[in-house]
């Protein structure tokens, strides 16, 4: 293991305690370590999320979906895979693989609307809808291309 383990070889680690019993926040002691992964974390930068062994303490396994009142909907037909939405999403919620935008991670998206604002296509390939709006209806109601205003 790499440097990660140098800093986390404390045997009071959360995993060890956590396996025995659930540790309350007020039982956390100095030097305690919360592990992000169940196993070796050395090569994490070369692993995609779906190949990682996330620990129960990684916020990846949690959700903030209940924060949303509006949600972005993605329309693949218009997308040019520019990745603007990927780079600016503050919640790691745009799923891109092999230079392609695949969709939205609704477990982590908070519905901020940034991705819609930065999408350059006409019409946009991402639009905000009410959280409870049906996805197919949303796609069916997609606006037409906006014409350039005549000078």
């Amino acid at each position: 293991m790499g440097i990660g383990n140098v800093l986390s070889n404390d045997k009071r680690g959360m995993i060890e305690l956590g396996a025995e019993k659930k540790v309350g926040w007020d039982e956390v002691t100095h030097g305690m370590v919360l592990h992000s992964f169940e196993d070796d974390a050395t090569n994490i930068s070369s692993q995609k999320a779906e190949d990682r062994n996330y620990a129960q303490f990684n916020s990846y396994v949690a959700t903030v979906a209940s924060w949303r009142v509006v949600k972005p909907v993605y329309n693949r037909d218009i997308c040019i895979d520019c990745q603007n939405c990927w780079v600016y999403c503050p919640d790691t919620s745009i799923i891109s693989r092999d230079k392609q935008m695949l969709g939205i991670d609704y477990d982590h998206c908070k519905g901020c609307g940034v991705c819609v604002e930065v999408c350059p296509t006409n019409p946009k390939s991402l639009l905000m809808f009410a959280e409870l709006h049906n996805l197919e209806d949303a796609i069916a109601s997609w606006p037409e291309k906006k014409k350039k205003e005549e000078n």
């Binding site: 790499g2 303490f57 916020s59």
Partner: protein, 317 residues
Amino acid sequence: MAITSTKNLKEFSTANDRFEGAHLLCPGCAHSMIVRELMNCTDDNLVIATNTGCLEVSTAVYPYTSWDTSWIHIGFENAATAAAGAEAMYKARKRKGTLKNPDAPVKFVAFGGDGSTYDIGFQWLSGAVERGHDFTYICLDNENYANTGGQRSSSTPIGANTTTAPAGRVSYGKKENKKDMMAIMAANGAHYVAQVAPNKWKNMAQAFQKALATEGPCYINAISACTTEWKFDSKDTIHVSDLATDSLVFPLYEIIDGHELNITYRPKNVIPVRDYLAAQGRFRHLFKPENEHVIEEWQKRVDANWERLQRREEARV
């Protein structure tokens, strides 16, 4: 191992995120855009120290962590101290041969808010830079103590309405000018200093990569538009950041070894400071007739500062 490329956005998007979702920062918070990009623009192992502020409290809410790297949670004034201590220990253990994996590349990074950087952690940051630790300090500069409800810091600009410098009948808000941390850190001996903004993602990635590659202490001032305290809609974080860089209220530039100043972004169309201010609720009161002079003076300061930066760039001193 995937080699991160920031050549263009498509290449960059193949980076495997190491800053995880379901942290509790506000929707549209620029802090997370900056942190995500730092962690995406390198494949190296990272040891990151973060002191108290929005970033720390929102990414380590027990029992969760949003960090896929070694991450140290530390008191308000001590991001620089913690990173410096970890770096010193790493070097010592490397020398003694007690590291399990001595060849694994590792970088030390500290994140602090402007409250901790410009004010409360200032002497600790200055000390760590003076001692020459090999680390990169990144200030998430949202120009206020956001985590405790928007108090003024020495980074808050003139005219902003904050809870401890409120605008009202007798005051237009904060009266004192923003501290120039770029100049201070360059003078303090930081080997590389840069001002970056998340809307200019490539410029920011290049500055991060330069800082990580530079041996010795580096300082990055990252403008972090704060939807809650600057008072704009969460969807507009990138728009407001564009106004910040294109009005030259936040010019993007770097200073190498304390003297070589390079402007790293020149807006094609410079927009009036007024447009930047108008997009944010914290400056709404400045548009009253009796406060208009604050906007005019601000425009003059921005023009003079841009002139100064260009001269410094030419002069190479």
